[in-house]
Symmetry: C2
């Protein structure tokens, strides 16, 4: 109660002096703010990696990896309003997800040490130029913000608008994510309503550490170029959703070489493999049910072989858990936000129950750069 | 285990003889099948009501009530494939929901007495003519099906396609829904991924009774025409989400006359009023927070007045409950499937804890027409 009264007192003292008028905002280039969950630091700051480094990528994988999926801007501001202008490459549109996730923005603000949802950037349905006020009429205390970039659309530019008399601060340059997730559309976030609802993003908020996202919808079949990308990526833990896209035959052929290649560069970094989601199209389609069951069996067999000789390999079974009520599917293949939350809870519980993995998370938590008061390199603005 | 073996044996015996070829299906007009959750039985069979009866409706309310929101086709078939062709009025598109919910179809099949998700009708992103195979490669046992129609789009025609040598049976004409829900976009299903995920549909599956949906996004401000519509609607229980759209002033002015009008026709039918959803835009927006809090206070005051003199009026507080993690919002205003599920669970628990309401549900359950084996009027096909 005391805390509530204190918050109310602060809020009353800091009532906004600025509201609703979006014409006189000052804008900063979003790429000058801190960027989190960018798994490799070189190349275009609004893309997950520099795909030019990997000539073997298929055009589809290249297209997806040019998207900022899972990435977010981190900044501090005391502005009562936060607006954004951004431009996207308008080629994709999905019937199974909301445009807000596909090409919109998703804003969280830290409160009492936890990320609390704050607002969203509403994209235009058509076109590539978007502008949206994400939150308004806030008190003017200094706040830590995390703004997720679109799930399924390349972003060419982004500007953040704040009240003209307010501060907006970067907390330093690109931040290394201690955990990196690689996977299929289930990792990419197909079916989500907002950019912050794919399981890596939800797990990140649950654990309190950044998690980068290498999801490439439908394309994760353990090709060697994916292993190359992991080899070039620095992290304390890798999590793989690599049994969702390949056929049973591909799982048998590719899993051991995939792990071998990764181990050539990361000999002892924990590798967590997730059992694939229990697709709801199995409920009545007998052909698809058999195919899925064969894939699950192939994964179990291949995992058993590598896990026997490597104490730093883990298999979470279930991995991408969506519950037992069969209500989370949006299209038979992908869960929506609810399924992704259940998966994230399941993974968080399993990580917390594994001492070696929990130790990594605890160590990573202590390094969070943007803590308040900010002890980061001086603001660029 | 015995049950599983039995199911596997049945499945093996009934393996599909037909798969994937959609050219030679036979089609039936969907409007000749049983229609559930149509709250008034006259007028166009693919619309919730005959809006011509209500000249006072605003054009927006008329537009919405011409949509089949919450309505579903019920039928029985032994076809291994179920396909649909349907036409819609293509005027709306939302950034906060999946097109599958907005203009697609959502198929459930009964298994062990419960509805299990089975497939969906994928709409075209553009255009008004849609065709989609919802499920394939099923065993050929007779099954009960429930196919939700689009959430946010008028449907002008629908045909259901099955294998040429299979049966498809209606279970009679339009079925009266024992429970009718009226409300705002939270009832209409804004933010959902599929047509079966608005809270009335989820609650219906939880309770095992049909629930019709009078949601009209953003338009439920307790105007007298809404009370007129309820007066003309036959049900055993009405549930209202009528505190989401009106201002505090409108709540004070309109609630008592709204109830009075309804009571002139339904003197003792239980009326359940739901506290509005805890909108997540309140998290940081102080102006919106105050407005929402004032609305909640107005609702509590007005409810207290009518409830004192009417033993058949109930107030569920919280009503449209979305949990305490603040993660269910898709746009600050509407929850997605996860929030709607939490709301449905909360409402189901409160109904089950209220003997007079539970009695209504139990009585309605016993009347389900489409039970297997079907004891309904002879099939029309």
């Amino acid at each position: 109660m005391k805390k509530l009264l204190l918050l109310l007192a602060i809020a009353a003292f800091c009532m906004p002096t600025w509201s609703a008028d979006t014409k006189n905002l000052k804008y900063v280039d979003g790429t000058t703010l801190t960027i989190i969950n960018k798994p490799q630091h070189d190349g275009n700051r609004l893309r997950r990696i520099n795909t030019d480094k990997y000539p073997d990528l298929t055009s589809r994988v290249r297209h997806y990896l040019n998207m900022p999926t899972g990435m977010a801007l981190r900044f501090r501001t005391n502005s009562p309003v936060i607006r954004a202008k951004w431009t996207t490459l308008d080629t994709l549109r999905h019937t199974n997800m909301a445009s807000i996730s596909e090409k919109g923005l998703d804003l969280y603000i830290k409160q009492d040490g936890k990320w609390l949802w704050a607002g969203f950037g509403n994209p235009k349905f058509e076109g590539t130029k978007h502008a949206s006020t994400m939150i308004n009429d806030m008190d003017t205390t200094m706040k830590e913000c995390m703004l997720y970039l679109p799930t399924f659309m390349q972003v060419n530019s982004i500007e953040i608008g704040v009240a003209p008399d307010s501060r907006i601060e970067s907390c330093g340059d690109i931040k290394r994510a201690p955990v990196v997730a690689m996977g299929s559309s289930y990792t990419h976030g197909s079916g989500t309503s907002r950019a912050g609802m794919a399981w890596p993003a939800q797990l990140s908020r649950m654990l309190g550490v950044d998690i980068a996202n290498y999801g490439t919808s439908g394309q994760q079949k353990m090709e060697q170029f994916f292993a190359d990308i992991i080899c070039d990526t620095d992290a304390d833990m890798f999590i793989f959703d690599c049994f969702s896209n390949p056929s049973p035959k591909e799982i048998h052929e590719r899993f051991a070489p995939f792990v071998k290649k990764i181990r050539s560069k990361h000999p002892s970094t924990p590798l967590v493999f997730l059992e694939t989601v229990d697709r709801e199209w199995k409920n009545f389609d007998l052909k698809k049910r058999k195919f899925e069951n064969d894939k699950e069996q192939a994964a179990r067999e291949e995992i058993a072989k590598v896990i026997a000789n490597d104490p730093n390999i883990y298999f979470f079974e279930p991995g991408l858990y969506t519950g037992t009520d069969h209500e989370t599917s949006v299209d038979g293949t992908h869960p929506g936000d609810m399924g992704y939350q259940r998966a994230a809870i399941n993974i968080a519980e399993k990580i917390n129950a594994t001492p070696a993995l929990k130790k990594i998370i605890d160590a990573a938590k202590a390094k969070d750069c943007c803590k308040s008061p900010c002890k980061c390199p001086a603001s660029k603005k």
